[in-house]
């Protein structure tokens, strides 16, 4: 049972600036800052550990600057880590720290085994390519060198994410924000990754569009059984999508638990404040 995890994260840490001894002890919720008083170094993520199980949806909630986006960006190798270990079952049965892999192997993990959806579609999509081309890129990264197969898979994914197929050969630059986000989701799941990272995916959208994107993500989760880490400052998103939630403040986990427990019986003062701000 305890060995069933898909992703195991231990002591993940990111410091911007000098990583002097004691910097981790001088920051965090206890000091109400993530800036070291001696060196001015910023501790974005401070010793975070958790396990993610197959098919599980984990929420990461916290205000801006709590380190939640940095956390997923490190997992997707967008950012270098300062310290910490991540083990991932599909890679050597989880016996190797992902951050010690060669860059080429990291790219393999990124392209074959993970999907990422960013808050800003420009970070996840290349607007100089068509939407079909963007999906093709992810498939080509996984060595699918067959245009026919790429077209079929692309159309299939766009249908799944409810983007009109007629717009497959158009640049997403001309799409609405909600539709850009759908193309990004289609690209992220193109290779059926076991892990999907979602970073504030609905933040820039209108409420009605938000609802549709959330419905889509929930439907995909149910259909594909993919594990997800959902980063959001919006407890509504967390409630709708996740089984389990971690609350971050100043780079540290202040509380974690079942999502219904976090929402109905928050233990930490900060979480109580967040929940009471919800309504």
């Amino acid at each position: 049972m305890n060995n069933n995890w898909l992703l195991r994260v231990r002591n993940l840490t990111k410091i911007y600036g000098e990583a002097t001894p004691g910097v981790l002890e001088r920051t965090g919720p206890k000091f109400d800052t993530n800036i070291c008083s001696r060196t001015g170094a910023v501790v974005a993520v401070n010793g975070i550990s958790f396990d993610l199980y197959p098919g599980e949806v984990l929420g990461v909630v916290g205000e801006s600057g709590s380190g939640k986006s940095t956390l997923v960006q490190m997992l997707y190798f967008d950012q270098e880590v300062t310290a910490g270990e991540v083990n991932f079952k599909p890679i050597e049965d989880g016996n190797v720290n992902l951050f010690e892999l060669s860059n080429q192997k990291k790219r393999y993990v990124r392209n074959h085994l993970m999907g990422m959806v960013y808050q800003n579609p420009r970070d996840g999509l290349n607007f100089r390519f068509t939407s079909g081309g963007n999906i093709a890129e992810k498939l080509l990264m996984a060595n699918v060198f067959n245009v026919g197969k790429i077209r079929i898979r692309g159309a299939d994914l766009l249908t799944k994410t409810e983007v009109p197929i007629q717009r497959m050969d158009e640049s997403p630059a001309r799409f609405s924000g909600g539709m850009q986000q759908r193309v990004q989701i289609a690209k992220a799941i193109a290779n059926n990754p076991p892990l999907l990272l979602l970073d504030e995916v609905t933040s820039g959208l209108d409420v009605s569009v938000q609802a549709k994107v959330l419905d889509l993500i929930r439907g995909l989760q149910q259909d594909l059984g993919v594990s997800m880490i959902v980063v959001s400052h919006d407890l509504g998103v967390i409630r709708m999508l996740t089984d389990r939630t971690m609350v971050l403040k100043h780079g540290q986990i202040v509380e974690q638990g079942l999502t219904d427990q976090i929402l109905q019986d928050p233990q930490h003062g900060y979480t109580q404040l967040l929940v009471s701000s919800l309504l």
Partner: protein
């Protein structure tokens, strides 16, 4: 019959950090056990701690101290108060369901899928799950034109039926039901009671919260009375 759940010295205190560290004592020295296959009723005035107790068992609330020893379907023993979240999620997924007083559902999901998803999560196909759901809805006389509608627009009684169907459809081993028959007419009320009794016959253990004398009389094997977060006397309905 052995006990399914043994609760020992359960305490629950809410600490409200944002209200000047105010503390609310909700449950005190609560100890009792639930036998396999019985229906245990919790009674007491509003605010006496019935729902709090039920949410503690379901782990929506964390307990302050005490133990809740649960024997799962494989015979393993788990303290629900201190089990890991993944263990609780597993128990919830495989054998324990909770039917809250008010329907809380994910928006924009049709009623039939709200209920069917419980079966799909347990590995049944969506078609099969919808068929089982239809049967259940019919017995609860939920009008067929509502099946594909969103429950958020339903009346209280209609929502309540969706809620009960959702909790019962997977035939859980352990069922927590909070006011299942409130806001239902007498016919539907009896239909709900019949269905719960059928579950019991099939081996489900149930903790029931109700204010309704009729429901209590028809259903409960045993009842516990709560007053200000403390257990008072046990009444046995024969």
């Amino acid at each position: 019959m052995g006990s399914l759940l043994e609760i020992v010295d359960l305490e629950k205190r809410f600490e409200l950090h944002i209200l000047n560290e105010k503390e609310i004592d909700a449950l005190h020295d609560v100890s009792f056990d639930v036998k396999e296959g019985e229906i245990l009723a919790l009674t007491g005035k509003s605010g006496s701690g019935k729902s709090t107790l039920m949410k503690c068992i379901y782990r929506t609330y964390l307990t302050t101290s005490g133990r809740m020893i649960y024997r799962d379907g494989q015979g393993a023993v788990i303290d629900l108060a201190s089990a890991t979240e993944h263990e609780v999620l597993r128990i919830r997924r495989t054998e324990m369901t909770y039917c809250s007083q008010f329907l809380q559902v994910i928006p924009r999901v049709p009623a039939i899928d709200v209920v069917a998803s419980g079966l799909v999560a347990r590995g049944r196909s969506i078609e099969e799950a919808r068929r089982a759901t239809s049967v259940c809805f019919e017995r609860l006389s939920l009008p067929a034109e509502l099946w594909d509608a969103y429950p958020s627009v339903f009346s209280g009684g209609e929502q309540q039926r969706v809620n009960i169907a959702r909790a019962m459809i997977s035939r859980p081993r352990f069922l927590l039901v909070d006011e299942p028959t409130a806001s239902l007419d007498i016919t539907t009320k009896d239909a709900v009671i019949d269905m719960l009794l059928e579950l019991k016959l099939a081996g489900t253990s149930i903790i029931l919260i109700s204010h309704d004398e009729h429901t209590l009389r028809r259903m409960s094997d045993r009842s516990l009375h709560l007053e200000n977060g403390r257990l008072k006397e046990a009444v046995v309905y024969a």
